[in-house]
């Protein structure tokens, strides 16, 4: 394989692998920016993947070619609803947010596989009838070298990048975003300014559920194409790493997720690159995690979490 075609495969697989990570990480950014830790991203992806696969299997004949896209809407809805459990526990019941997130992860796998077994009689669903495919973007994909590399990909990769830009706009340009961030930094100050801390946090966690569900739905319909207990294994935690490595910024998280997607691709096809063939595979697979620890420790710029993250807001307590 020559370098150019290896590079092309690398870029394409990076975009392919990182789309679900980007979407889920953006969900994490919303939740954590509002002050709610979301270890449950993994579980939100699981439930999204489950919802998308079940929808795809059930309604393929109704929606035809549009099925995967409608299935994504279903995944978003179910993800959003599912995240409300985390919201109730960690915002209203003042549960430890990390523990609640762990429970979300348990519950998602348990419920997903339980229902798959109950409905389909096996631990793994059939392949979905209408998966997503590469889409050639007319004209642009005809540009030599760049065209096939960047304009012949899954539409979901473009979707992820667009959602990242929207998330940046919402968080940093709108009143809603300013209020959401204020609640994560200094909830008491936000409260004295008439902002409903509880409402903002519920909305933020709900958004994280919607985006996490979307990420899971994308993963299931592009990468795994079926659902079982082993469909999502750590992608949610890579997304969480991307949130931190991206310094809780939507575009940063997108960059981090792309980078982590690249690392995953390199682990698979890195052997084709002369320089990388000497790097042990495990190091590439672990790169997202090692880099995130280094970032947290301040070796790669300082990553400062939102100030009020992890603490329930108790009204009237000063």
């Amino acid at each position: 394989m020559d370098i150019v075609s290896a590079f092309e495969i690398l870029v394409k697989s990076m975009l392919f692998a990182s789309a679900p990570l980007i979407l889920t990480a953006l969900g994490g950014v919303f939740s954590e920016r509002s002050g709610v830790v979301n270890i449950g991203l993994e579980g939100l992806m699981v439930i999204g993947a489950f919802a998308a696969v079940v929808f795809n299997l059930t309604f393929a004949s109704t929606f035809g070619a549009a099925t995967p896209w409608v299935a994504l809407l279903a995944a978003m809805g179910i993800g959003g609803l599912f995240s409300l459990i985390h919201a109730v526990a960690s915002i209203t019941f003042r549960a430890n947010q990390v523990v609640s997130g762990v429970a979300i992860n348990f519950l998602a796998v348990g419920l997903g596989v339980f229902l798959v077994k109950a409905w389909y009689g096996a631990g793994q669903t059939a392949k979905i009838p209408v998966p997503m495919y590469y889409t050639q973007i007319p004209i642009l994909s005809d540009i030599p070298v760049i065209g096939p590399m960047f304009f012949n990909n899954y539409l979901t990769s473009y979707l992820a990048i667009i959602v990242a830009i929207i998330a940046w706009f919402v968080l940093f340009k709108t009143p809603f975003g300013l209020r959401l961030r204020s609640v994560g930094e200094h909830p008491l100050a936000a409260d004295t300014m008439g902002i409903n801390v509880f409402k903002m946090r519920y909305i933020a966690v709900f958004i994280s559920g919607v985006l996490g569900g979307l990420g899971g739905g994308v993963y299931a319909q592009t990468i795994s194409q079926d659902f079982s207990g082993g469909t999502i294994t750590g992608q949610g935690f890579i997304a969480l790493a991307a949130v931190i490595f991206g310094k809780w910024h939507p575009l940063g998280a997108m960059g981090a997720a792309l980078f982590f997607g690249l690392a995953q691709s390199l682990a698979i096809i890195g052997g084709s690159f002369p320089l990388l063939s000497d790097v042990p595979n495990w190091a590439l697979l672990s790169a997202p995690y090692i880099l995130t620890i280094l970032a947290l420790a301040g070796f790669i710029g300082r990553a400062d979490a939102p100030k009020a993250i992890g603490t329930p807001y108790i009204k009237g307590k000063r």
Binding site: V37, I104, F106, L111, L296
Partner: protein, 347 residues
């Protein structure tokens, strides 16, 4: 209502609520909950083979629960038990395979290797927390995945010759017990359970009976007062993570030297480490509580395996029940609040 009563009531209520939710899930999906739970109990303690398997399952749960609980007692959240367990598992198997020694030296050495590896893996988040105030939750999560990939690499390229599994550890490093196996109708029960119970006693002795334990607990409950009283808060943070990691590593050694007797490539986590969080929380982070909670989860997990055959209920029902239990234990604030309201209303 006193705190003491609440600390006992809340786990019990949480377990009941979890089981009730499980029953509802079964009913809604067209199963008979009584049959389902009946099958679960039968599968867990119905005959000596099942009982043996259940006790074997409880063994790593005790260690994983102790690991999480020990860190909790010093105010730290070790989500990294899963990773520490994997490195402990691998290290114990490695030492088991690498040496040829009499059992009396070889087995303790292999077990200790597991503890040491787990401790080392937990030292990293500990030192990062103590020196740089990096939050241990994220670091331990990340360390889990690093462990997963690292251990898989070791097993494939270092311990074995590009195989998916290692060789079996020799008898001299094995926890396997022909006696216990015979007693339990040839289950996989091994000597590990005695180590686990001893571990619970060690946990209790360290925390309640030693001077270090006094400091660890004090730092966990009030860092400011501990500093005022001249304790070294940072050293205690590292110490706590290291001991917690050692317990986690021992959980791995139980799997490596006992249950399986070899190491293998993991596609994903064993789940024991994460279950350890539930065990510790439910057990109120005390030794006896951890043992009881581990027993409950061992029963649930083992019994669940027989549920599909006997009642058609998928195994994963138990995952749902455990998740619900964690939610309620974590939401103890609201349960305590409701109990107090309820009591007030009754008076």
């Amino acid at each position: 209502m006193s705190n003491r009563v609440l600390t006992i009531l809340i786990p019990i209520i949480s377990v009941l609520l979890g089981l009730i939710v499980g029953a509802i899930v079964m009913s809604v999906s067209g199963f008979n909950p009584i049959e389902g739970y009946g099958a679960l109990i039968k599968g867990a303690v119905g005959d000596s083979f099942y009982l043996g398997e259940t006790i074997r399952q409880i063994t790593p749960y005790i260690f994983a629960g102790l690991a999480v609980a020990f860190a909790f007692r010093t105010g730290l959240f070790n989500i990294g038990v899963e990773g520490q367990l994997l490195v402990g598992w691998t290290a114990s198997v490695w030492v088991g395979l690498a040496f040829d020694l009499p059992k009396i030296i070889h087995l303790p050495m292999a077990v200790l290797a597991g503890a040491l590896a787990g401790a080392l893996w937990a030292f990293i988040p500990g030192i990062l927390k103590a020196r740089l105030r990096v939050h241990e939750v994220i670091v331990t999560i990340m360390m889990n995945y690093i462990a997963l990939h690292f251990v898989n690499y070791l097993i494939r390229y270092v311990i074995s010759d590009e195989q998916n599994t290692t060789e079996r550890v020799p008898e001299s490093a094995s926890l396997k017990s022909p006696l216990l196996e015979t007693l339990t109708d040839y289950s996989t029960l091994h000597y590990g359970i005695f180590l686990a119970l001893a571990g619970a006693i060690v946990f209790w002795v360290i925390l309640e009976k030693t001077t270090s334990g006094f400091e660890l607990r004090s730092v966990g409950l009030n860092q400011h007062a501990s500093e005022y009283a001249g304790m070294n808060v940072n050293r205690n943070i590292v110490l706590s993570m290291v001991i917690s990691g050692a317990f986690a590593g021992l959980a791995g050694a139980m799997e490596g030297l006992g249950t399986f007797g070899y190491g293998f490539i993991h596609d994903s986590f064993s789940g024991v480490g994460f279950d350890g969080i539930a065990v510790a929380l439910l057990g109120g982070n005390i030794a006896i509580g951890v043992v009881l909670a581990a027993a409950l989860f061992g029963i649930l997990k083992q019994g669940a395996l027989i549920m599909p055959l006997e009642s058609g209920v998928p195994t994963e029902l138990v995952e749902i029940v455990i998740a619900i239990i964690i939610f309620f234990v974590a939401s103890s604030y609201i349960i305590a609040y409701l109990l107090r309201r309820f009591k007030k209303g009754a008076n």
